[in-house]
């Protein structure tokens, strides 16, 4: 992707790629022209132009909700694009099914691993070779010679592919029983087994530890060199992205905001702002503990998601939890609200333990949650949604409370009789916040309130959070937009793979170089140190 975006025209820029001869000027492996898709009036991806060379490793990066996975879904025809064309080796893939696109030469992995969990690792890979196997149903049922010949060939090829990650020894293990990192690797091998010309990797390093990630980096290069294919990856681990990719494309709000080499991207002010946000003003504070979380441990099945986290929120404070995808921020909030259970420790709200009462009772103790992805009731009106927020409150003057929320969000007042599903993303976020405020909570928790919103709306949302804070509402905020969150927060905690790795006042953390480095990666070619750099 040695091109710089200049409107819709692509201008070649010099690249410092590892591969000496760039082959982009022959026929590119993949070309997207003016690609776009609309979901219910919302432009999820718009005017997406990208060209990938035949043996290029390219990265697709951007904040949460920027539309990166949607691009992959468009490329594989899981979603049919509303506009634009995709040329795979010069061939238009328009109207093909996902299976046909795979046959045409695009292999992919998924953000949330999608293995065939009940099949063995080898069987997973052999399914992907199905199109290259040449025996029919009766050969299989009657075990004719063709069956044995083809099965043997496939078996050997599967082992050969597994060898890339030195995973032959788990060939007969059930895929679903493998550790997380191994499952990610099997998914890559499976995609390779379809004989792709372009390999799409969706967050291949998510959930991997630093040494696994380092291995992965080496292996991505090795795969490209061995198979001579193009690789496009979506990744939040900036060390990996900056080290392994030859070209980067940054997406925000479904639009490309920058293209270029990793070095260029790291210096690009638009990109820095997209990742870290703009700073906001600070409020004042007073002390009396509202929430105290002491040594909680949370598991998803056998995965240890939260490893002994402790923190506290004082009255009137904004406290923020920041960290990478999968660090455990949302899990922490869901544990406090009672949707998940901690195996150890305690959680107290206003000195009352809340860790062993059902979630709907937690609300009665004065906790309100504004969940990730907003989760408003799409089939209920704005007013009904607000009423649900005050469901547990007795002796409430519903109209007065609604008016209070409408004062904060005049926009909602205009739409009071509209169905939730017809609101725009920003309005839905306002509704989710208004709904949480209806119960006059002692503590309001917000999970990623700015996710997927346009910059102007993000600013508005943060202004609102700030004014709620000034009114004395205590807020626990989980945010991707670290800069914005820290600039309005009194204190912050940095989470990494289920542990708190740094804490301090908002100003301290803001000033610390650790944050920028964590979000955009360190110097190029810098290897992660043994303690583990920040993987955001």
């Amino acid at each position: 992707m040695a091109y710089k975006s200049d409107g819709s025209n692509l201008v070649p820029v010099p690249s410092n790629a590892v591969i000496p001869e760039r082959d982009i000027n022959d026929m590119p492996a993949l070309e997207c022209k003016n690609l776009g898709i609309t979901f219910g009036g919302l432009h999820a991806v718009e005017n997406f132009n990208l060209t990938i060379g035949r043996t290029e490793i390219a990265g697709l990066i951007g904040p949460n909700g920027a539309g990166k996975t949607t691009v992959f879904n468009l490329l594989t025809n899981v979603y049919q694009p509303t506009t634009g064309t995709i040329l795979l080796n010069g061939m238009d893939t328009h109207g093909m099914s996902t299976a046909q696109v795979s046959k045409a030469g695009i292999g992919r992995t998924f953000q949330n691993i999608r293995l065939f969990n009940n099949l063995t690792v080898e069987e997973n890979i052999m399914v992907a070779m199905d199109n290259s196997m040449k025996y029919g149903l009766f050969d299989g049922l009657l075990r004719l010679p063709g069956y044995f010949r083809e099965e043997k060939k496939a078996h050997e090829k599967a082992l050969e592919l597994l060898h890339i990650f030195e995973m032959e020894n788990v060939a007969s293990h059930q895929a679903g029983s493998l550790p997380y990192g191994a499952q990610r690797r099997v998914e890559i091998v499976r995609a390779l087994a379809t004989n792709p010309k372009v390999l799409l990797l969706d967050e291949p390093a998510a959930g991997m530890n630093p040494s696994e990630t380092a291995d992965l980096m080496a292996n991505i290069r090795k795969i490209r060199d061995t198979f001579q294919i193009a690789v496009v990856l979506i990744e939040h681990d900036m060390n990996l992205v900056m080290n392994v990719c030859e070209g980067l494309c940054v997406l925000n709000f479904g639009r490309i905001i920058a293209k270029g080499s990793p070095a260029e991207i790291q210096k690009n002010p638009t990109v820095i702002e997209a990742y870290l946000g703009k700073s906001h003003k600070e409020g004042e504070k007073q002390m009396s503990t509202i929430l105290k979380v002491d040594d909680i441990n949370v598991y998803y099945g056998s995965i240890h998601a939260i490893k002994g986290i402790s923190f506290h929120v004082e009255e009137g404070e904004i406290v923020t939890l920041i960290g990478a995808n999968g660090a455990g921020k949302s899990t922490t909030l869901n544990t406090i609200s009672g949707l998940l259970r901690s195996r150890t420790g305690s959680i107290t709200l206003n000195d009352k333990p809340i860790d062993h009462i059902p979630p709907h009772k937690v609300v009665e103790h004065g906790l309100a949650m504004c969940p990730e992805g907003r989760r408003i009731f799409l089939q209920m009106t704005v007013e009904e949604n607000l009423e649900m927020g005050a469901f547990t409150v007795k002796d409430i003057n519903m109209d007065a409370e609604k008016e209070r929320v409408f004062d904060l969000f005049p926009r909602l007042k205009e739409r009071r009789n509209q169905i939730g599903g017809t609101l725009s993303g920003g309005e839905q976020q306002m509704l989710a916040m208004g709904r949480a405020l209806m119960s006059k909570p002692h503590l309001m928790m917000m999970d990623e309130p700015s996710m997927g919103l346009a910059p102007i709306l993000v600013e508005q949302i943060f202004d609102i959070i700030n004014s709620l804070h000034k009114e004395g509402t205590t807020i626990l905020l989980v945010e991707q937009n670290a800069q914005a969150a820290l600039s309005i927060a009194d204190r912050g905690y940095v989470l990494e793979t289920g542990k708190i790795v740094a804490e301090g006042t908002g100003a301290e953390l803001l000033a610390s170089p650790v944050i920028k480095r964590a979000y955009l990666g360190g110097e190029r070619e810098e290897e992660p140190d043994k303690e583990g750099a920040y993987y955001f």
Binding site: N73, F110, H360, R375, M380, T392
Partner: protein, 291 residues
Amino acid sequence: MRFLSFLISGLSLGSIYAIIALGYTMVYGIAKMLNFAHGDVIMVGSYICFFAMMRYNLPPVVGVLLAVIVCTVLGMVIERAAYKPLRQAPSLAVLITAIGVSYFLQNAAQLLWTSSPKVFPSIIGNGKIQLGELTISHVTLLTVVVCLVIMFALTWFTGNTKMGKAMRACSEDKGAAQLMGIDVNGTISMTFAIGSGLAAIAGVLLCSAYPTLVPTTGSMPGIKAFTAAVFGGIGSIPGAFLGGLLLGVIETFAKAYISTQLSDAVVFSVLIIVLLVRPAGLLGKVINEKV
């Protein structure tokens, strides 16, 4: 005129299906399960009403009321004992349990009340209204009216009461509903109670129109009503209403104009064709899996 009288009896049969289908659809909407025992709750309701009227000589109104109360409690007990422990289990396991409950109710009824058919008494006499050439029996009229009343009452209930709104919230997003402080388990229990109460009313109406009562009385109307709920788009209250009425009318017309014996084949063929054109039923919404 023949057409009109078929249409009316079709609407009457459809009304019964609609009331049963409402129970199916509400439970499905909130608990995402097919409550196969629903048809048998109808049968229990009919028996309660029958014994109240025939053995204890209670007035019909008391009989119906008693049936509603017993079925409401029964519905809640079934939910608590058999379905609640399986909230996290795969849907097939819940389905099989529901089938088990259905067998249980049928066989318990057979033991308690024997399998010899009971002739259900008329609850409002055999009166008829004559409109020119058209004759409409009181039972037919009552059935349609009751169905309309239930439909409007339910629409009002889910739209205007706190409990009704909680039910809608739960059926849309249980997690978010919990965060609002809604007791999801209590709401599900309430839904079963309402659905089962409606089943009792449907049972009495069914047996008033087709007065032979046996322990398997509820099975076939149950399956048909379930079909009606899917027909209209399962989970949707107006869908169940529409699906029920249409199914009743189609069935009656098929009996009248095609063949009595093949009416079921016609009804189910129409269902398959409708689902081919609208894979989520008439008023249902197709939900795509997130990738």
